[in-house]
Symmetry: C2
Subunit: 295 residues, 2 copies
DNA sequence: ATAAAATGATCAGTAAAACTTACCATAATA
DNA sequence: TATTATGGTAAGTTTTACTGATCATTTTAT
């Protein structure tokens, strides 16, 4: 029914018009002149009407050709636009990544990392949102973000986790607390004190130290509230080192030596789903930057 | 630099998405399945990114592929739109003709002709304007109209004239005028009477009757004014038969027998310029309708 | 007026592309 | 576990697009 107008002949026609003749167009397009003639003739046959006047020695458009010219230009321009945009995205010169990270990573690690990424990939837009690890997990799973930076939650065959760094668990208390002078702790050393649980406390689960959780009666999810509690000397808590905010001068972080606990922070992505070029750039960048640096 | 995205592979991709698989798309497109696979792979290589997920058995888009899909659809749709419109014009199902005609033809011949044309070519828009032959000539020459219907003015090698009909020159006078009873006239019979010249009077030039013009002191260009003058009995005039309005009951048309003068009415178009498909339809229609009918 | 140079068209042969048939590997289905 | 999907691969064929040589006209220059 509809003949297929290939783009090359359309370009030939436009080149003829722009350069003023078949020979000039041929040179411009690095083709032989008969190639141009034949392509134009084929195009005219498909359309059922000549585009160029046949008589004179010069290449002049017919009225039909004059009607066609602007549409051909638009169509070719449209093609080139789509082509250019697609390539820019494929080449990671443009695009967008949506990332989610646990708050500690988002606030402690990402600023420097994103600054470097923004410089390396100036055309890529980034959206970063934080959430606790469960929420990050869910966002990746639901496709709300392409990449998550989190501690591994539930190993899932629809998700893929690539470890980036290990983050030791420790105890945080005020500097005048009896524990504050220690260099390393055994979990039993915490038993006499009030333990404030927080969002990261479930990292203790499955270890001997889990016993502490059972005796804890205070749970604070918000990090700001938690540090306020600790600064008020109400109790102690456990935190991964990365989640410990060093700028609080009266708080101390003491590594938990026995059991040695750590969370594995890494990149989370859907397993059977490839990344967008922009996300792939981010993925590669993060892997390269954090490879070995904190392990 | 920019790779050329051929339209066929884009259609393949869309067909895969619409039909849900490579095999189904192949059947729908009347191609073999490997043809689809190879075209898609080639397209992916050109873009530098896969469009479909490789792992699973099903045809699922990558994020990059999801970005591409709507643009591919738009591009293909754009192509089809241009293609369809161009074909409609080429096939004379749509388009526009601008015509100019001398007033007599415009009012006496064109109504019936255009009615027929409108029926035969329902998609074609027509613009008809009238003007004296010199003006029609100029409009065709300047490209203001594609076709003129006029008596040949100056044979010009940039214009082409195709005769349609011969229009006899005669004398017009009131029914009580001495000449009104004659069947045919010799030019000298006019000498005693007041001759009113009009726009068609120069048709007498170059004939013996031209002598009459020298003695005429009244020139009326407007046909309504001219008939009013004739009805008032002020004088007589010469007119081609087609320009004589038979609905004026008190006016008579007497053919000029000696010299036998006629104007050749025909189609005027630019010589070295082909017609738009719509104008070509009009040209062919008019030639067919008037061929022989009035000659 | 004549020669020279330019225009686009034509034709045969060739290189490139797109496609088909046959077959393979893998994943979902019965 | 056999079956029937899926899509991928390879060799061979058809189709398309192109080149090089040549021609007919028209325009330009002498």
């Amino acid at each position: 029914m509809l003949p297929e107008l290939k783009l090359a002949p359309l370009r030939y026609v436009l080149a003829i018009l722009d350069s003023g003749g078949f020979h000039a167009a041929a040179k411009q397009l690095h083709r032989s002149q008969p190639a141009i003639s034949m392509a134009v003739r084929d195009l005219e046959e498909r359309l059922g009407q000549p585009l160029f006047e046949k008589g004179g020695g010069k290449a002049l458009l017919t009225p039909f050709g004059r009607w066609c010219e602007p549409r051909f230009r638009e169509l070719v321009a449209h093609h080139d636009r789509v082509c250019r945009d697609a390539l820019a995205i494929a080449r990671q010169q443009r695009g967008r990544v949506d990332i989610a990270a646990v708050p500690s990573v988002a606030s402690r690690l990402m600023p420097a990392l994103l600054a470097g990424f923004l410089e390396a990939y100036p055309g890529i837009d980034i959206s970063l949102q934080d959430g606790h690890s469960e929420r990050v997990n869910e966002m990746v799973l639901k496709g709300e973000v392409e990449l998550g930076i989190t501690s591994l939650w539930l190993p899932d065959d629809t998700l893929r986790f690539d470890a980036l760094l290990h983050d030791d668990i420790g105890v945080v208390c005020r500097d005048d607390h009896p524990l504050a002078q220690k260099d390393a702790l055994h979990w039993r050393a915490l038993k006499p004190y009030t333990l404030i649980r927080n969002g990261t406390s479930r990292l203790l689960e499955g270890s001997p130290a889990a016993e502490l959780l059972a005796h804890s009666t205070l749970y604070i999810s918000n990090m700001i509230s938690l540090t306020a509690m600790l600064e008020a000397g109400i109790g102690v808590t456990t935190l991964p080192r990365l989640a410990f905010q060093e700028e609080h001068q009266r708080l101390r972080f003491i590594p938990l030596a026995t059991p040695h606990l750590e969370r594995r922070i890494g990149l989370l992505r859907r397993a059977r789903q490839s990344l967008s070029p922009a996300a792939d750039a981010m993925y590669g960048y993060l892997m390269a930057q954090l490879e070995g640096s904190h392990r």
